[in-house]
């Protein structure tokens, strides 16, 4: 690799350290400037959302800045149906995250740890929902419910959310499982632990960061989902569905207040997880001899 690359590269007879250094410095500087601007671009809509939760809007829509007020924050659930929609979203997100994370973790364990015929087709089958546009997933599921005669509502939203989350959990947990040191399990079994004890006391704590990452992703995707939910919601309204309905008639600033709350809550959850994970990784990386030395 290096040899062929070197063969193709132009070899300059002399280097000009000062100029090169200046050039590199300028490039690095502009790269950092660009990175800063790109990050600002990514965060800009979030600033807008938070700012407009304080907008003293007098029209039905909340698009033009009209002055600062905290009255929406004092009355975040003052819009009929908004609180109920948020509650539905949270309930569905919690339930579907638990089920999808359990199913997906078991599948990831099977795929990483066992060689069996049929593994490649199973991998491909799990990949398929990720490669399908949401509108297709939603339309297909509604075709099933219509054909079989199931009334759409809370239950069908739950089913849909588990369906699209399972593959995401498998992919996330699987990537974390690949570096797993299986000797630890063998050691536990050599010391007389049975299969269940080994799983509960050794395997699960070690794969916990991966499972947690998969679960967080599932929760975020579920609470945010609009397209698939819209197809299978019936008369049940989730937070995104409420916003969609409101976007056609009038958008109360309370929507921005709740969006800001969800943002802050998820951010806090994320920071707590990162912190916890770092601790877990430090502990997992510790070898017995290091522990003795430390």
């Amino acid at each position: 690799m290096e040899a062929s690359a070197a063969g193709q590269m132009r070899v300059t007879p002399e280097r000009r350290p000062a100029l090169v250094r200046l050039g590199r410095g300028l490039l690095n500087g502009s790269l950092k400037l660009y990175a800063g601007l790109a990050i600002l671009y990514l965060l800009f809509p979030i600033f807008v959302i938070i700012a407009f939760s304080f907008n003293d809007t007098r029209s039905r829509f909340n698009f033009v800045w009209q002055g600062f007020t905290t009255k929406h924050w004092q009355n975040p659930f003052g819009v009929p149906g908004l609180g109920e929609a948020l509650l539905n979203s949270i309930e569905i997100a919690v339930l579907s995250t638990i089920v999808a994370t359990a199913l997906g973790t078991l599948m990831a364990l099977a795929l990483v740890r066992y060689q069996f015929s049929g593994r490649a087709p199973v991998n491909f089958f799990i990949f398929l929902p990720l490669a399908s546009p949401e509108v297709v997933l939603g339309a297909a599921l509604l075709s099933l419910f219509l054909s079989v005669g199931v009334n759409t509502g809370f239950g069908t939203i739950f089913i849909a959310h588990v369906m699209f989350n399972v593959s995401f959990v498998v992919v996330t947990v699987r990537s974390r499982l690949i570096g797993f040191d299986r000797h630890l399990e063998e050691a536990a079994q050599d010391l007389g632990a049975n299969a269940v004890q080994t799983f509960m006391r050794v395997t699960l704590p070690l794969i916990a960061p991966g499972v947690l990452a998969g679960g967080l992703l599932a929760f975020a995707l579920s609470i945010d989902d609009f397209v698939i939910t819209n197809f299978n919601a019936g008369s049940t309204v989730t937070f995104p569905l409420f916003v969609y309905g409101a976007a056609r008639v009038s958008i109360p600033p309370q929507v921005n207040v709740l969006a800001t709350m969800i943002f802050l809550f998820t951010l806090a959850l994320m920071l707590a997880t990162v912190w916890q994970q770092r601790r877990a990784e430090r502990m997992a990386a510790m070898r017995p001899e290091e522990a003795v030395a430390a």
């Binding site: 950092k32 054909s147 690949i178 397209v227 197809f231 995104p240 916003v243």
Partner: protein, 290 residues
């Protein structure tokens, strides 16, 4: 180890897979079968739909909505290229020059996901509004004409799609760039490679799995999206997702909507297959495993 496990308890992996596979079979594979059936039905919502192998639904849906199909792939393609151009230098900067800011920058990349997708798009509606200072600034620098507008144009729809799926491009790119052995770059510099050559001949080839994964993860949802076209565009910017959504949920013309969904899925799978062939299946599988 693996051989021992296979011989002794070959049923175990299947037992672990069973619940999840069952869920995907019943609520992903079986629905596709029912949608295939619906796509071949004939009739109307008042008289009821009957299954008649009505293949004309496919021919009709392609000829009636070829414009929206083309627009979807055009907008999705442009958004994917823009996302790659915006994301690559950022991912590169985070991976190679992030320093102690690396984790904070990664958090900023996924932060948009912490706000609801629809509300993020509504925020762009605010930003692109005719009365918005951002639009005034664009007029001032001459990016758009004085009487021009941003909202309700193809530009605002593409901008919305690009923004909304950008993290799906940045994260796989970052993951593959971060994995590059820094000694490779040093070796290239030691062999008198210029920075441009190092980027072109070492960094970009080694990050190919990330490029493949990122473009796929961005392109697929972009093509199927209808929220951006709905909130930032007009019916003249309607994409195929808008048609499927309104046919299915508003007009209740289920057969057409089902046929359109299958055509969309088929085109995407063919394009993904071609892309995988061009980029190399190795890159695709490597990306998929990460």
């Amino acid at each position: 180890m693996a051989a021992r496990l296979r011989g002794r308890r070959g049923w175990l992996p299947w037992a672990l897979l069973a619940p999840g596979l069952a869920w995907l079979l019943v609520f992903f594979a079986v629905p596709l079968y029912y949608m295939a059936k619906v796509s071949l039905e004939e009739g109307s919502i008042d008289t009821g739909y009957r299954f008649t192998w009505h293949f004309a639904n496919y021919a009709d849906s392609i000829s009636n909505y070829s414009e929206q199909f083309l627009r979807s792939f055009l907008y999705g393609g442009i958004a994917t290229v823009l996302a790659l151009l915006i994301a690559y230098p950022l991912a590169y900067a985070i991976a190679f020059h992030g320093g102690r800011w690396r984790n904070a920058m990664l958090l900023a990349v996924i932060a948009p996901f912490f706000t609801t997708y629809l509300i993020r798009t509504l925020a762009w509606q605010t930003i692109f509004d005719d009365a918005s200072p951002v639009v005034d600034a664009l007029k001032f620098v001459g990016a758009i004409p004085q009487d021009g507008r941003v909202l309700a144009t193809a530009g605002s729809v593409i901008a919305g799609i690009t923004y909304n799926f950008l993290p799906f491009m940045i994260l796989p790119l970052y993951a593959s760039l971060e994995r590059i052995d820094k000694r490779m770059l040093e070796a290239a510099y030691d062999l008198y490679a210029k920075r441009r050559d190092v980027v072109r001949r070492v960094v970009i080839p080694l990050s190919a799995p990330g490029i493949v994964a990122g473009t796929l993860l961005t392109f697929i949802p972009s093509v199927g999206d209808y929220i951006n076209a709905q909130l930032l565009g007009t019916p003249r910017q309607a994409m195929i997702g808008n048609v499927i959504q309104s046919r299915f949920l508003e007009i209740t013309d289920y057969p057409t909507a089902a046929a359109l969904s299958f055509v969309l899925m088929a085109i995407i799978l063919v394009l993904v297959g071609i892309w995988a062939r061009v980029a190399g299946t190795e890159a695709l599988m490597g990306a998929e495993a990460s």
